[in-house]
Amino acid sequence: MLDLKLEDIDGILVRYNVALEKEMTPDEAAEELYPKDELIYPIAKAIYEGEEDDVIDGLKAAIDAGKDPIALINESLMVGMSVVSQLYDEGIIFLPNVMMSADAMLEGIEFCKTQTSEVPEPKGKIVCHVAEGDVHDIGKNIVAALLRASGYEVVDLGRDCPVDEVIEAVEKEKPLMVTGTALMTTTMYAFKEINDKLLEKGIKLPFACGGGAVNQDFVSQYDLGVYGEEASDAVKIANFIVENGSEIEKLREEFHKH
């Protein structure tokens, strides 16, 4: 068959991902971000590496050295995870690494809880779902995984989720936000219904919406809607709410393209 000469390939296509790959390996990049504290460093690193056993070992050592188990959640586990998130955002590591790190972090949290009777202050609860009539749930799964990875408690209502179940869950769980995913133009209208029913009940909370079918113009049409393009936007929206409150206008100002 015909073939291209090696030197001719670049004129036809550019592997921008290869061209762009940072000089630094992911490990080196992570190394630069770990906290320097001798007790915290190994925990953060174990989180990055997704090594659950090393996480527990590190936590044990830190607690033995007098650190508070609950404080360690924020000061070591979350810090390690934020290294992971940052590297993911920068395109240096990929989703499966994040998921493995998140698993390690969750184990770490469980372990910390067993070391004390105090209850950790949760970062916040979030209800996730896929629109009624829609079975496409991988995007939602990624969203849920990344939220968990960032320390949020996720109530996952699954796919093809009836409008009323979302309303009930919100009433019951009082989350700091709801997320909705829709991949089909035929299903995304359920978001409007959810919006209307929530408002009818006097509930005002941010409703972050995304998924292949959904776009910003559509989400802007109902009062509670905040549009996110990538799964990681869900985390950014949640963080923004924690830091700046849940005013929809502000959220749109921050996250919508204008």
Binding site: L2, L13, V18, P96, C161, Y189, A231
Partner: protein, 461 residues
Amino acid sequence: MVKKYTSMAYANADDMLFGNSKFPVKAGLGLEIGAGYTTPELNYAPRPQAGKSKEKLIKEYERITTDAMARMVQIGAPSIVLETEHVEQMTNNPEWGGAVAHAQKTIMEEYHDEYGIKCALRHTVGDIREDRDYLKLTGDKFDLLMESFEQVAKNGADLLSVESMGGKEVFDYSILRNDTAGILFGIGVLGSMDMETVWSGVADIAKKTGTVAAGDTDCAQANTAMFIAGGLLDKNLAHTIAIVARAISAGRSLCAYEAGATGPGKDCGYENTIIKSISGVPIAQEGKTSTCAHSDVMGNLTMQCCDLWSNESVEYHGEFGGTSVQCWSESLAYDCSLMNVALKTGKAKDLRDMFTLSDKYRDPQGYVLAYDNAYRVGEAIAKDGNDNYLRAKNAAVECCNIVEEGVASGKLKLTRFEINALTKVKEDLAALTDDSDKFMSDCLTKYKEEVAVFLPENYGL
């Protein structure tokens, strides 16, 4: 009843070519697929509001059909296939699907009678075999699926297809965890088992109704992997893993033809070149002219051996140049015209190679699906064709080898991340048993435990 492929339909990769298949398929009104020419296959989605009632839906499809046929005649296209991918209501209410097929076919017959344009109608029913949380592959839902096939076949559909979902629950769990065994089990084992059941059923109906059992696609798994992997800069899944899932899927989608289907395979089966090399059936493909539906990194390459050339799907709406279905069918028709000229001028193999080279080094997925390499994956499958597990594993191993050779040649450049992911898959594969029964029982134990929604009874297990 199910006769497995254990040899190749083509003696050499170089014998494979667009517009030509070993076993052409006659269908519809004067059309022959894979018999020396390519034909555009247009797919479309009704607008959201159109699903409100049966009447509205039928009108929508009538307009779509008329628009498309009219445009084909205006530009002088000799042939067209229309593909209607069911919205859920059309499969769940078999008489809806039948009524739509009837309405469309009536219009197509008018055009055929007036202009002599060759045409056929494909209906792709929805795989509605699931509850909210679980797959329900057998029983009532299976019967409903078959009834839907029967209704569309009796009412005008010429080509019968479905995008079946067997194995998806295990796959979904595994793909985000880089779990090689789970990917192999979901697609290669569970998927293949379900395919055999579904397609034996469809083949019977086709025989009974004088229609064509056309083919399936691993949309639910290999395409999902491809879409999660995304473009060059996405970072949710290594493209090297996506292509391993694709290689595995070839064995799975091949099961349709082993159960009696004859092609043309479904457009979005990017595994179809591999399947063609083994089975010789005609195939539909999509790529650079299905950007309306999705983006991929092998827009031209997929034309290399296609018999039908599709836009995957476009929502019906207006554009400056007419309605969306008119625009896309016209673009497809010109693509086909180019291929058909190549066939008539003796330049087809050159054109094929140009299609392939456009994307062979763009991405590991294109590299493996380039027809020369696809043929090798085909051989790996045929070698152990009688064993669904082994052939899937062979395909995955061969896929890894091919990518590694590409890297070694210096022409396929991978990121470190992609290379690492590949290394891991290769190690995982090497660690797997060669004993299908053992693999099955290991996986059953493992995934019953880890995947809450996995119900072995779906597969008669």
